[in-house]
């Protein structure tokens, strides 16, 4: 699943319409739109880093994060340099203005965007900003709320230039701008969605797990012995060594289950010694 955080509905509009996302009614502090078949969820959080952080925390807690889930932040920003409105940037450095803290998302994937640093402020950018930077109000909040679940390699920050600190576009103009930028962003997002659609976690077979647990019981394993046994079974599986047949034979001959922990320990040692 890819979770995309947008501050405003107008910023998320192109995603909601393109992927026909349905609104969930069980969230009250943020708006959640999703298409579970495509593996996409959009969180509309409201403006500001605190709202963004709170929304990510709530969503993460309630929806659970799977091992390969991604967290993206897509939104508009101001630029303190020459860039056409609607230009899309990928942020490689997030500077939180109120604290001075800096964060670095890992840019591990090929992408079609130019890269820049973004400064996250509590209020919209005005006055004389430092040149060469982007200015937003959410990125650092999303990063900090997401880091412990997603890590720096599963978070991306995509910003679309909407203004230059001298007045922001109205809602209609912002939506138009973001919809247009969507034409650049969507093909990039699509690559990830296609991959995620095909990626079903292959859970360990229930029977295999039950068989292992039975073995743990039948060897009267202590915690240490259980670790040793599991490590041994894992290695055998990787090395294509079929120990299960051997053990089943011992079950057949009454060697297993062991009668005591001591016997179990001896059996485990014998098993190990026979392998190498």
């Amino acid at each position: 699943m890819i979770h995309i955080v947008c501050a405003l509905y107008q910023e998320a509009h192109f995603l909601i319409t393109h992927y026909q996302l349905k609104k969930r009614n069980d969230f009250h502090r943020l708006q959640v739109f999703e298409n579970t078949e495509r593996g996409l969820r959009v969180l509309v959080t409201g403006v500001g880093m605190l709202r963004a952080a709170m929304a990510v925390s709530i969503a993460t807690e309630r929806l659970k994060v799977a091992e390969h889930d991604l967290l993206w932040n897509i939104g508009s920003c101001a630029a303190s340099f020459e860039a056409s409105p609607g230009t899309v940037f990928l942020c490689n450095k997030l500077i939180e203005e109120p604290t001075g803290c800096t964060f670095y998302p890992d840019i591990l994937y090929r992408h079609p965007f130019e890269e820049r640093a973004v400064v996250s402020r509590m209020t919209p950018m005005t006055g004389e900003p430092e040149p060469g930077l982007l200015y937003d109000m959410e990125a650092s909040g999303v990063y900090q709320a997401g880091i412990s679940d997603y890590g720096p390699h599963r978070m991306l920050f995509i910003k679309v230039v909407s203004d230059y600190g001298k007045g922001t576009p109205d809602a209609t103009a912002l939506q138009c701008l973001m919809d247009e930028a969507g034409e650049t962003i969507l093909p990039f997002l699509e690559r990830f969605l296609s991959f995620h659609a095909g990626q079903e976690q292959s859970a360990t077979g229930q029977t295999e797990e039950e068989w292992e647990q039975r073995l743990v019981r039948d060897l009267h394993c202590s915690v240490t012995m259980e670790h040793e046994l599991m490590q041994l079974l894992r290695y055998c599986a990787l090395a294509d060594r079929n120990v299960r047949d051997e053990l089943e034979r011992d079950y057949g001959q009454g060697v297993l289950p062991c009668r005591s922990k001591r016997e179990g320990k001896q059996y485990l040692e014998k098993l190990k010694a026979g392998l190498f």
Binding site: L108, Y109, I147, S148, H153, L238
Partner: protein, 346 residues
């Protein structure tokens, strides 16, 4: 994401360069940056801001490497670790002017030690030299400079081996070991052989290279490079350390020894021209192994059911002894026993 198509990853040698603000104007920084025009450069306050972030994915990072240029402020020398061989040297140190390696060996302790797969290069080598020179005033020093990286593999890019060689030429009391899995024959032409610079080649059978030592040169290439160095008068150490278990390990390591025999024979050389050899089976601290196993869940080497002996994971004693003894016996028929090192301080 690990199984994303290879072209999803930003795959050039380095896709981004992070640079500490403090060393922006260092000549070595400027030199390095010139070699990577057009790559995004990101200024940072301290290398740890990037290198030590929480929850990084070492494996993914290895598929899209970043270069971090930094200045080392302290800890230029460390005392040798007990699991490392000291080759009879009393004052055994190692230094780390580069952190991480361009190769991807499944069993590498760096994966257990470092939170990040990105490469950190400390540009202020002069400070390392000062620290070593100071230590040399107290006693002779045996210094391993390529433990936490593979400097010879990076030589074309960094030229660090050459700089250490120049330094060692002025300090006969200093013996430097440059450990490598590379096969960079060009380095033999860039430097003069010195008796106190030892090139130590870690050798593994081709099967192990293919299975566990990703992106490293083949066994044959490493052997050829090592023998070429010897032929040109460089002191070369051959390291059968770590020896790794596989079902037919005797046959595999036997073939490796024969490969070396053939290569020496072709150049009309003998094992007597090898400076020394080291023998040791795989071992790693319990703490590193825990992290390594999580990072390499499908690796035969890391998932082997090792035994924990005083906090160090190693092969079961019988197997360990069998492998090491076998190798020592094989080597004893080729090189004098005094040149075979196999005891480490565990």
């Amino acid at each position: 994401m690990r199984s994303l198509k290879p072209d999803y990853f930003d795959a050039p040698v380095f896709s981004h360069i992070y640079i500490e603000k403090e060393i922006l104007s260092h000549p070595r920084t400027r030199q390095l940056l010139e070699r990577f025009p057009g790559i995004p450069r990101i200024e940072i306050d301290h290398y740890k801001d990037v290198f030590c972030r929480q929850k990084q994915d070492y494996g993914l990072q290895q598929r899209s490497r970043k270069l971090i240029l930094a200045g080392r402020r302290e800890h230029f020398l460390y005392e040798g670790a007990p699991v490392c061989q000291d080759f009879g040297n009393r004052h055994f140190y190692y230094s780390s002017c580069v952190m991480n390696c361009i190769y991807d060996c499944e069993y590498c302790y760096l994966k257990g030690m470092y939170p990040s797969g990105h490469l950190v290069v400390f540009v202020n080598l002069e400070d390392y030299f000062r620290a070593v020179a100071q230590k040399l005033r107290e006693h002779p020093v045996y210094l391993c400079v390529s433990y936490d990286s593979d400097l010879a593999a990076l030589e074309k890019l960094l030229g660090t081996c050459e700089l250490w060689t120049e330094f060692a030429a002025k300090h006969p009391d200093l013996t430097i070991e440059i450990r490598t899995k590379s096969a960079n024959g060009a380095m033999w032409d860039r430097q003069e052989p010195l008796p106190n610079i030892v090139y130590a080649f870690t050798l593994s059978p081709q099967r192990i290279v293919e299975q566990s030592e990703h992106r490293t040169p083949s066994a044959q290439a490493r052997v050829s490079c090592a023998v070429e160095g010897m032929a040109k008068g460089f002191p070369v150490r051959l390291c059968f350390d770590p020896m790794l278990y596989c079902a037919d390990w005797q046959q595999e390591y036997g073939s490796l020894l024969q490969q070396i025999d053939r290569e020496l024979e072709e150049r009309q050389m003998t094992w007597e021209q090898v400076r020394d050899v080291s023998v040791g089976t795989f071992r790693i601290s319990k703490e590193y192994m825990r992290i390594l196993r999580a990072k390499e869940p499908d690796s035969l080497v890391t998932q082997f059911p090792y035994e924990n002996v005083d906090g160090v994971y190693q092969y079961p004693p019988k197997l360990k002894q069998q492998m090491e003894q076998w190798m020592i016996e094989e080597l004893s028929g080729r090189i004098s026993k005094e040149c075979i090192y196999h005891e480490y301080r565990t």
